[in-house]
């Protein structure tokens, strides 16, 4: 068994424990459970980092080239993004939703057939390194560690996905919280969460990170496509779906400044946006034909 898969097994358990702890903290409202949950989230983040490092060593390139590797990047970025959010705003109950999502992501990565997990050398279309970076690294003999558009494109896209995933979790909480606020119940199961308007604001912040990063991912993909395929945009299903997702989040941003579209409707758009992200990420790869179809 290769090392990255050993770390994966550890991480799988860590995410399960982390998600359970956050849910425990949410339900029982005990501070020590919350602190343990945050600690476990850190452990899980370190373990995910080790998966990525081990995989880079095994395959000889940045670990962004197949579905399983990109799932690990997604899990890593979402975890890191969540921990930053928790550190800055000190709302722990939200972790139950985000870490629950992380665990679901780990399950889906686990269920992928082996051919999506194995470490492979890069095929011709994926080989792209920045010449200037190679030139910078050459005097030190490190030029084989140069990265290129592939790495930049995948990395920025997945920071974007992570932002949207966090916003999705927050929007679900918003919709539940909004309902419980409307019915006038204080405390109860939704009492652990901050006020709806704060959740709405946090959800916006997550999209405010996700949206420019997705755009950077799309643009860097276009730059790369212009090198590799001879055209910066060819309406390939993956490209089109990334644009669809981008349109939805653009709608979200404009909804928030439009009277009557704030709050609830904006939250629905964010949920729709994340469903589009899931289809963009998994659906397009498996269902629709095109240049990004890994499953063929």
């Amino acid at each position: 068994m290769i090392l990255s898969l050993v770390f994966f097994t550890f991480s799988f358990v860590f995410y399960l424990v982390t998600a359970l702890l956050y849910i425990g903290h949410w339900v029982f409202k005990k501070k020590w459970i919350g602190q343990t949950a945050t600690t476990m989230a850190f452990v899980a983040l370190l373990s995910t980092t080790m998966i990525l490092i081990a995989r880079a060593g095994e395959s000889g390139h940045a670990p962004f080239s197949n579905l399983w590797e990109s799932m690990m990047l997604f899990v890593w970025a979402t975890n890191a993004g969540y921990l930053i959010l928790e550190y800055r705003h000190k709302f722990r109950a939200i972790g139950a939703f985000v870490m629950g999502l992380e665990f679901i992501a780990m399950i889906s990565a686990f269920m992928l057939p082996y051919r999506f997990k194995s470490a492979e050398p890069l095929n011709p279309a994926l080989q792209n390194k920045w010449h200037w970076l190679m030139d910078v690294l050459r005097p030190f003999g490190l030029e084989k560690y140069a990265i290129g558009w592939l790495d930049f494109h995948v990395f920025t896209t997945f920071i974007g996905y992570a932002g949207f995933a966090i916003s999705f979790g927050l929007s679900l909480i918003y919709l539940l919280k909004e309902r419980s606020e409307a019915s006038g119940t204080k405390g109860g199961i939704m009492g652990a969460f901050p006020e709806a308007r704060i959740i709405d604001e946090l959800s916006y912040r997550a999209i405010a990170w996700g949206f420019p990063f997705l755009a950077t991912g799309i643009v860097s993909g276009a730059v790369w496509a212009n090198y590799a395929w001879g055209s910066y945009w060819s309406w390939d299903p993956k490209e089109t779906w990334s644009l669809i997702t981008w349109f939805i989040y653009a709608a979200y941003l404009h909804a928030r400044v439009t009277r009557g579209w704030r709050g609830k409707r904006a939250a629905y758009i964010s949920v729709a946006g994340f469903l589009a992200v899931i289809f963009l990420y998994w659906g397009v790869s498996f269902v629709l034909p095109g240049l990004h179809a890994y499953a063929s």
Binding site: A255, T258, V284
Partner: protein
């Protein structure tokens, strides 16, 4: 709305109902959501297939619907382009309506009149007393805001001061930068579709290719494939030479991800294969009639007369078909496919200077037709060395740079729009009995949570004793 009232009846001619239709955020939402939904169709219905394939997949009724609605080339259909045009008009009109007043307000913000009573109406406001003189408290306020990188101006004197602090004004322009960047990207796409072209050439190793609408040619010096140790393909490479006015001006090795760029045109490695109508050399052997074995084969180069040793004949290799076929109507030989299913070579056979025969010889069917009628010797085609061709995509798109410029503006716009927040705070410092009352309140254009925290920190640093000096 205020503008309208001010202008009274003298509205500019273009401000009619169409203008106001396009000056609407609801329209933006409608267009964005519609674009998102209809774009899905184009990913489900495969684009630009031959009509027969749609018939096969969807049946007659649906195919005629697909063709009428232009779903087979949706992203270039008039209605999809109309939606994009609507988005563009929406952006243009909104920018014209909102940008000038915003710009003015941002420039003149210091001279704006402000009613101190409004401070307590802000969602973010604080009222508190500080045990110090108004003058000292004013200094503390100024320092507290400056430490948070605010700009601040003061008016008033003695017992009452009015202050105004602000930060991140330029963040307000983020949305405008982003909107203009989208227009630039659309413009780049339009330039590309009118002034650019795409083409494809298959060129043999050693051969030359023409370039459409350009005054130079390309020569393919070599084509080769690199492999990993495991046998997987690592890279496809072509070595190209640019020839201009008969002179070689540039040599470059291209591969997937590394095109050649010359005079605004890009050349991409896009495919490769073995030629179906040419070989570099063929192996031809002499066989005496009645004998089952032939002599040692000889190498015959393409279009090079070669004497056949041990005979009085010489041969010239003039044709090749990878998958031999014969069209009786036109008397033409052609290759049914690019695969070497039934390889055959076409020879000219000379007796001295005299052309005596032009047979086709088949690799898989030796001896089915005699190569030289009436002679004792026959010729057998025993092998060949194929020629690789490299498939080169040609793309000229002068709009690309406009698209990149748009992308850079967009990045700038995002940084301003999402990470620079415009905060404005009004402060009144007034003597109240023995101590001094401070009222401060303000607003931020986004990210209220940050603002709440920041104001709390400022209030704390004004209230605390140490805050006086730096």
């Amino acid at each position: 709305m205020q503008d309208k009232a001010k202008n009274g009846g003298s509205k500019p001619f273009y401000k009619n109902s169409i203008w106001y239709f396009f000056n609407s955020l609801k329209l933006t939402l409608f267009v964005l959501i519609t674009l998102a939904v209809v774009s899905i169709f184009g990913t489900v219905v495969e684009q630009n297939l031959p009509v027969e394939e749609y018939l096969q997949k969807y049946g007659e009724k649906w195919t005629s619907f697909i063709l009428t609605a232009r779903l087979h080339d949706m992203y270039h259909s008039y209605w999809f382009l109309a939606l994009l045009a609507m988005l563009a008009l929406n952006i243009i009109v909104c920018t014209f309506e909102r940008f000038p007043p915003k710009w003015k307000a941002l420039l003149n913000h210091k001279s704006e009149k402000f009613d101190a009573r409004l401070i307590e109406k802000f969602a973010n406001h604080h009222v508190f007393d500080v045990a110090a003189s108004p003058e000292a408290v004013k200094e503390r306020v100024v320092n507290a805001f400056k430490r948070k990188k605010f700009d601040i101006i003061t008016s008033g004197s003695g017992k009452e001061f009015h202050l105004y602090a602000w930060k991140g004004r330029i963040g307000r322009l983020g949305s405008d930068f982003t909107h203009i960047s989208l227009l630039l990207i659309l413009l780049g796409a339009i330039i590309g579709s009118f002034a650019g072209y795409k083409d494809f050439r298959a060129v043999f190793v050693g051969g030359e290719m023409s370039v459409p609408k350009a005054d130079f040619r390309l020569k393919l010096d070599n084509f080769w494939i690199d492999y990993y140790e495991s046998g997987q393909i690592k890279q496809y490479n072509s070595l190209l030479t640019v020839i201009e006015d008969g002179k070689e001006v540039l040599k470059k090795q291209i591969w997937v991800n590394e095109p050649l760029y010359y005079k605004g045109i890009r050349f991409y490695q896009s495919s490769y294969g073995t030629a179906w109508n040419r070989v570099s050399e063929a192996e031809i052997a002499v066989q005496t009639k009645g004998r089952s074995e032939h002599n040692e084969p000889m190498l015959v180069k393409w279009e090079t007369p070669t004497p056949l040793s041990g005979t009085k004949y010489s041969v010239k290799l003039i044709g090749y078909a990878a998958d031999f076929a014969y069209d009786e109507g036109t008397n033409q030989v052609f290759s049914k496919s690019a695969e070497a299913v039934n390889p055959a070579v076409h020879l000219e056979i000379y007796d001295g200077d005299k052309l005596i025969s032009t047979p086709w010889l088949f690799l898989k069917y030796p001896g089915i037709f005699p190569a030289i009628p009436g002679a004792d010797e026959d010729l057998v085609f025993t092998g060949y060395r194929g020629i690789m061709y490299s498939g080169i995509s040609i793309n000229k798109d002068p709009g690309t740079n406009v698209v990149w410029a748009g992308s850079i503006v967009m990045g700038l716009g995002f940084i301003l729009a999402f990470f620079v927040y415009h905060r404005r705070v009004w402060i009144v410092v007034r003597e109240s009995g023995k101590s001094t009352e401070v009222k401060l309140g303000g607003m931020i254009n986004k990210n209220n949570l940050v603002f709440e925290k920041e104001l709390k920190e400022i209030v704390e640093s004004i209230s605390s004793e140490k805050a006086g000096g730096k």
